[in-house]
């Protein structure tokens, strides 16, 4: 289900968080089962499905990476699945990075490594934004898959 359509927000990588929040709360109010306790059973099941869809859509859209995935899937259905294969040299680098992170974790000083990984994630985001703007969803899909390794590394450093 298209999360942008569910919440009635523009398909925009840089979606305004305030707008998203406002639409989410309005949609929740409109369909929350609590406010329709008196409705008939069929209507209540439909509302329940709708409320679940609204919550699911919000979960996707408030995270910029998942929002990007939703845009790619919407504009070029199947692109994410088709471009899963990543070049071997990239995977080798990603493996090295993961090992470096594992070794550094819990160590005295991870600040430098953290800054380096953060820069990688930022670069991914910029590349992704350019690809989406250019309508190159194959490149966007590949960037999304690649960035996953960098985001994972960053997350591990903070854990």
């Amino acid at each position: 289900m298209d999360p942008f359509a569910v919440l009635g927000v523009p398909v925009d990588l840089d979606l305004d968080p305030a707008l998203l929040e406002a639409r989410y709360l309005a949609a929740s109010r409109a369909c929350h089962p609590d406010h329709h306790a008196g409705a008939d059973p069929d209507a209540r099941i439909a509302l329940l499905d709708r409320a679940a869809a609204v919550n699911n859509a919000y979960r996707v859209l408030r995270d910029r990476w998942r929002r990007a995935e939703a845009i790619v899937e919407l504009r070029a259905p199947g692109a994410l699945e088709r471009h899963k294969q990543l070049p071997p040299d990239f995977l080798a680098e990603a493996l090295d990075l993961a090992e470096e992170v594992a070794a550094a974790r819990g160590g005295p000083d991870t600040a430098a490594l953290r800054a380096r990984v953060q820069a990688m994630v930022d670069a991914d985001w910029n590349a992704l934004r350019d690809a989406v703007a250019a309508g190159d969803f194959a490149a966007a899909a590949t960037t999304l898959h690649k960035s996953r390794y960098h985001r994972k590394a960053l997350q591990d450093l903070f854990a």
Partner: protein
């Protein structure tokens, strides 16, 4: 134009481990409902001793005299099964056995009770108090549960509500309910951390309150951590103190266990106010012992438990992606937060003093009443967005847990997953559902299993069955399945691992109706006995006054004596009814005779004059 539907009376109930409370929202806001003595707290205790079922304060008063027949803390058993209960059961003075499907059954009052049934008795008492306070029947309620209750525990609670003859409009998480009571006036918008330490459960929830919207960001907890655990530790310490004096406390004796538990609870409460306490431990025939206890001793015992709660607080902060400083208000809920140690430790972690604006014993019930008002259609401004506390998933190849709905997802939440067959012509697929955070299903709780059947026979892998897992606003899971190619709805029958099956709930509901018949029969019997007693007395008096032929006097006297004997022998109702019929038949004849004799006399006399 349709007229607005008349508002239903919906109460909020805090069904606690130790006490339960009912509340309702009126024009001026939520109020707790109190009994004739002004008491709001109904002890969650049921006593089956002395041939009577007593609930609430009457039951609590008898707990020391009948420890084995008095059931308390049943909330710690509900929705659980098997080995996970062993430690729990070892501490209880009453007997819990493993019944069907390894489910706990309480052996008391000459039968086995499910925790749901005992809980229903407590709920009935709460309902009674509410109805007496309102002067009107109550049919529906919003009932609270610990936020960290899983699907099985929630479902079991909902079943208990139904067994109590109440329609359960919503299950609300206790900390969320408390936050409603705290933040409803709109002056405390911001981020709130609710720390809820009750008798048996601990929850922490972090919410954002914003213009009537209460949104839970994260929740954490432990459904087996609470004031009871402190009591148990203190009780063990008291027993150890006795042993140190050379007194064997005989802790295997249920009476002693109950006395120690009660003494420990009192010591804990007293030490919330002062630094040291002296108690007289009355062990009945084992004598009375004077013991001393200091707050430092208590805090040394409670510290590990408090530290466990702080771990939960840290985990919730992490899940909400918040630093302690970003929390605007720290709210205390639950009787156990009266312990100074809790306030001190939590204040240090959060960098601000916790507040108890709303009475920690009543906040949850008041919040439930606010939500009840929303569901009754009274309040449209309040919007509650709660989360599921534990991830839901299914077993995949090799016993791995495939999470479908992640913890802290806002409910309602749903996820549709496609399944297929592995063998040609396969018409059914078995799916096991689990709840928990671990990677292997063996480390998670199995909620149940279901069979997708009625799949059209096709080559392996060809059927595409879309299974939708939906968690509703109560945090309860429902499963639906549709075969995609044929559009055919696949039949699903979920067999729960815990709690009652749907059939059992139906049977128990039926039984409670039968019990209603029994109650009616009992009342009928009392009325019949009263009638018989009145007849015996009345007839004897009438015989003295009436002027009857000797043979009639004799037969009436005989029937009267038979009825008196039947009363004395406490014969079955039907036999008593027959004896009454027999006597009234005779006396009716006599009455006829007396009247006809009188008429005859009058006629004769009239004719003669």
């Amino acid at each position: 134009m349709n007229a607005p539907a008349p508002q239903r009376l919906v109460i909020g109930i805090d069904l606690g481990t130790t006490n339960s409370v009912a509340a309702i929202t009126g024009r001026q806001g939520p109020i707790v409902l109190r009994d004739a003595d002004g008491e709001a707290l109904v002890p969650s205790v049921v006593c089956f001793a002395e041939g009577e079922v007593r609930v609430g304060r009457a039951a609590r008063a008898l707990a020391l005299r009948h420890p084995e027949q008095t059931v308390h803390s049943v909330k710690r058993l509900i929705g659980r099964a098997g080995a996970e209960l062993d430690e729990e059961v070892a501490r209880l003075p009453y007997r819990v056995v493993r019944g069907e499907r390894d489910l706990p059954r309480i052996a008391v009052g000459g039968r086995l009770w499910s925790p749901e049934e005992v809980s229903a008795l407590v709920l009935r008492e709460v309902k009674r108090v509410a109805e007496a306070a309102l002067g009107q029947p109550v049919e529906a309620a919003v009932v609270t549960v610990p936020a960290y209750f899983d699907d099985a525990q929630r479902q079991a609670t909902k079943d208990a509500v139904a067994l109590a003859g109440l329609q359960c409009l919503r299950i609300v998480n206790e900390p969320t309910a408390a936050s409603l009571a705290f933040g409803i006036d709109g002056s405390k918008d911001g981020t709130v951390l609710v720390y809820d330490l009750g008798g048996g459960t601990f929850d922490v929830s972090i919410l954002r309150i914003d213009d009537g919207v209460f949104r839970v960001l994260a929740t954490h907890g432990d459904t087996h951590l609470g004031g009871d655990d402190v009591d148990a530790a203190v009780g063990a310490e008291l027993a150890a103190a006795l042993r140190a004096r050379g007194v064997d406390p005989h802790t295997e004796d249920p009476f002693v266990r109950q006395a120690l538990r009660r003494a420990a609870e009192n010591v804990k409460i007293e030490l919330s106010e002062r630094e040291a306490a002296t108690l007289q431990l009355d062990l009945g025939e084992r004598g009375t012992h004077e013991l001393h206890f200091t707050r430092a001793q208590l805090e040394a015992l409670a510290a590990p438990l408090v530290e466990r709660t702080l771990q939960g607080v840290r985990a919730a902060l992490r899940d909400a992606e918040l630093e302690p400083g970003a929390v605007d208000h720290v709210l205390l809920v639950g009787g156990s937060t009266r312990m100074p140690l809790v306030r001190k430790a939590l204040g240090e972690l959060m960098g601000k003093a916790p507040r108890a604006d709303v009475d920690p014993d009543l906040a949850v019930a008041l919040g439930a009443a606010l939500q009840a008002d929303v569901l009754a259609g009274g309040n449209r401004d309040l919007l509650l967005l709660d989360v599921i506390p534990l991830s839901l998933g299914i077993e995949t190849l090799g016993g791995a847990m495939s999470k479908l709905i992640l913890r802290n997802s806002t409910v309602p939440a749903s996820k549709t997953e496609e399944f297929s067959t592995q063998v040609d012509g396969q018409t059914s697929v078995d799916i096991n559902i689990y709840q928990g955070e671990r990677e292997l299903v063996r480390d998670c709780r199995k909620l149940g299993s279901f069979k997708l059947s009625g799949i059209p026979p096709m080559p392996a892998g060809l059927p595409r069955i879309a299974v939708t897992f939906l968690v509703d606003a109560d945090g309860l899971l429902t499963v639906r399945a549709v075969e995609q190619r044929t559009g055919k709805e696949a039949a699903i029958k979920v067999v729960p691992s815990f709690g009652l099956t749907r059939d059992e709930v139906r049977r128990m509901m039926h039984e409670s109706i039968e019990h209603a018949h029994e109650d009616m029969a009992a009342r009928e019997r009392i009325e019949l006995r009263n009638k018989a007693l009145a007849m015996v007395r009345g007839t004897e008096r009438a015989l003295e006054q009436a002027d009857l032929p000797p043979d009639q006097t004799w037969s009436v006297r005989k029937a009267t004596r038979q009825l008196a004997q039947a009363l004395a022998d406490d014969v079955p109702t039907e036999q008593l009814a027959r004896a009454i019929d027999h006597l009234s038949h005779l006396t009716a004849q006599i009455a006829d005779d007396v009247i006809s004799a009188a008429v005859q006399r009058a006629l004769t006399e009239g004719a003669g004059s």
